[in-house]
């Protein structure tokens, strides 16, 4: 197990450094320079331009900038946003909980609905329910979620007036940020109604974000269950006279869950991508919206740091899933 752990972890280090190289040079290929962008239409004199380039370190050779960047990364300095003049890491950490809260809720919805739907579809293979689940999940998988979000806003917010259109919480509440997770913070604060307001704001975005993972989880659970249900040990369990609940819930599900957990883990990357669109539609103050805004205002350092941090998070989660997989399935460890 230790060897398996070390191999997997050692594979992550070069990936991480490759990633810094990738993001660093990619970001520097973006047309237009940030100083010009900050100056806007008024323009800036050549002397002032050179001075500002020097202050941001943009006039040094690329490799020197890169070495400096890596050095800074190792001390936890992910750069300073050109627009807001604050540390990228601080900005990221301030916005990260909002994205995590949204993603966790979306994943929760996806698993809570997708898992039972997939199991039931597999058990009742070929039934109307099975066909409906498969049709729904393929539709969900094909969904342009930015459009789906707008349609849900149109129905639930505009027509029915059930949910708010944007933001994390009503402007009437002020909640002291303790954990950054509004659901927890609003419970901790003594503002009555704050928690309900936070839940209200969270429902629609997390439904939208959960659409694709839900489809994937349902499909994966169904096919994993179908595979397991055809195994000999299931027939043995049935032959022993165990009830269907025990056979499906205990013998089949435990083995079917292994690939499902992997797929759930791999959805984390998808969730971040989906969060970019979802947060833009619902004006959710998280990482996704921040990244898109950084692109539009050509904030190199924010973009660089942000992408690196998001990618690192995805890599770390994937690594954890990998290790968990090894823990659950001993056969994997030897390969």
């Amino acid at each position: 197990m230790l060897r398996f752990l070390l191999t997997r972890v050692s594979l992550v280090v070069p990936t991480f450094f490759g990633l810094t190289l990738l993001t660093f040079f990619m970001i520097h290929l973006i047309p237009g320079d940030p100083v010009e962008f900050l100056a806007g239409e008024r323009g800036v004199s050549p002397e002032r331009h050179a001075e500002l380039m020097a202050r941001f370190g943009l006039d040094r050779p690329l490799w020197e900038q890169y070495v400096g960047y890596i050095g800074n990364l190792l001390t936890g300095d992910f750069g300073t946003s050109i627009k807001t003049r604050t540390s990228v890491l601080d900005e990221f950490l301030a916005l990260f909980p909002a994205t995590v809260e949204l993603s966790l809720c979306a994943m929760l919805i996806a698993v809570a609905i997708g898992l039972p739907a997939g199991i039931l579809a597999a058990v009742r293979r070929g039934s109307v329910f099975d066909h409906s689940v498969m049709a729904a999940s393929l539709t969900g998988y094909s969904m342009p979620i930015f459009w789906w979000g707008l349609i849900l806003i149109l129905v639930f917010s505009v027509e029915l007036g059930l949910t708010p259109v944007s933001g994390r919480i009503s402007v009437f509440y002020w909640v002291e940020p303790v954990t950054g997770f509004l659901l927890i913070d609003s419970l901790l604060s003594d503002e009555s109604g704050a928690f309900a307001s936070a839940v209200h704001h969270l429902v629609l975005p997390s439904l939208v974000l959960s659409t694709i993972p839900l489809a994937v989880v349902a499909r994966m659970t169904r096919s994993a269950m179908l595979e397991v249900l055809g195994e000999d040990y299931i027939r043995t369990a049935r032959a022993k006279g165990l009830g269907p609940g025990r056979v499906i819930g205990l013998h089949a599900l435990r083995n079917a869950l292994i690939p499902v957990i992997t797929v759930i883990g791999l959805q984390v990357g998808m969730l971040f991508a989906g969060a970019i669109l979802t947060e833009t539609i619902f004006a959710w103050p998280g990482i996704g919206k921040w990244l898109v805004e950084s692109i539009h205002r050509r904030d190199y350092p924010a973009l660089q740091g942000g992408i690196l941090l998001v990618a690192s998070t995805v890599i770390l989660v994937n690594l954890t899933v990998d290790l968990l997989y090894g823990l659950l399935n001993p056969r994997i460890r030897r390969t």
Partner: protein, 297 residues
């Protein structure tokens, strides 16, 4: 078609007929195929099919609702947008763009991905490890995020979107090709043609590659839908095709402020995206089932 499957057991069925037999049993896949053929025809003949010019503005017909609503107008079946352009014509021309984006993205990423996969598979050792690490790195980034970064570097625009989405798709093909190549290389027929004196290039392109195609075809169909979806997402974020180009995602984002007053300007482009993507996913699923020998028995 069914007649051909009733051939005597000792006669090898025509592989195409056999494929069609399994494929046509999947209703969803056939529906997907029909929809795709329809969209392709509409896209090809957009100039003839579309009732209006997609960028022509009509100041007398701003935000006209679709024909089945009150105040609907037979001149504009799906209504008009905020500057009086016909929605139906824009969606039809959008189909041309989306299908083109999909086709170019898939061809580009397929060719580059296969080349990279073949090199990695045949070279092995350090080259293989280096290439695969690089591919893993690209896969570590969420695809849309990577496409956004590439689109941001290249600047917004339709052609840049194509490149951005194509680059993101490369690792999938490279990994798939490499995996198939690895499993094929140990087969006897490869050894045989090697002994017969086939060079590496011939071995790669003529001997091994055709036997790796089945998973690649499936992946190509599925990534066609991803390409359309990603391009539309980039358009929606303002990083893709720029107005007045009738790209579905761009159309959606440029009429966002009319969501409440005129829902049809948002509904129809999105529906077009959903239907197209769904059709390709249905087709991809059907192809996977029909081409996978394990599922046939």
């Amino acid at each position: 078609m069914t007649a051909e499957t009733e051939t005597p057991a000792n006669v090898q069925p025509n592989p195409l007929a056999e494929f069609w037999f399994y494929f046509s049993q999947n209703t969803g896949a056939v529906i997907g195929l029909v929809v795709i053929v329809t969209i392709t025809l509409v896209a090809l003949f957009a100039d003839v099919v579309a009732p209006h010019d997609p960028v022509l503005q009509n100041r007398d017909a701003l935000l006209v609702p679709p024909v089945w609503q009150n105040d609907g107008n037979w001149r504009y079946l799906l209504g008009t947008d905020d500057i009086g352009r016909d929605m139906l014509s824009r969606i039809i021309h959008g189909a041309r763009l989306s299908m083109m984006i999909g086709a170019i993205v898939v061809s580009l990423s397929l060719v580059v991905g296969i080349a990279i996969g073949l090199i990695a598979g045949f070279a092995g050792g350090l080259v293989d490890a280096a290439i695969m690490r690089a591919m893993d790195m690209m896969l570590a980034l969420p695809p849309l995020l990577l496409a956004i970064v590439v689109a941001a570097i290249l600047g917004p625009g339709l052609i840049n979107v194509v490149f951005a989405v194509a680059i993101v798709a490369i690792p999938h093909y490279a990994r798939l090709t490499r995996a198939s190549v690895m499993s094929e290389l140990s087969r006897d027929y490869v050894t045989a043609s090697r002994v017969a004196g086939a060079g590496t290039l011939r071995l790669a392109l003529v001997v091994v590659l055709p036997n790796c195609l089945a998973p690649l075809i499936v992946q190509a169909t599925l990534s066609f839908s991803n390409a359309i979806l990603d391009a539309a997402s980039l358009g929606f974020l303002g990083l893709g095709a720029q107005p007045p180009t009738p790209e579905w995602g761009t159309m959606l984002s440029s009429s966002l402020q009319f969501l409440q007053r005129a829902p049809w300007v948002v509904t129809f482009p999105g529906l077009a995206i959903l239907i197209t993507v769904l059709a390709f996913n249905l087709l991809g699923d059907g192809l996977r089932d029909a081409l996978d020998p394990k599922l046939k028995r």
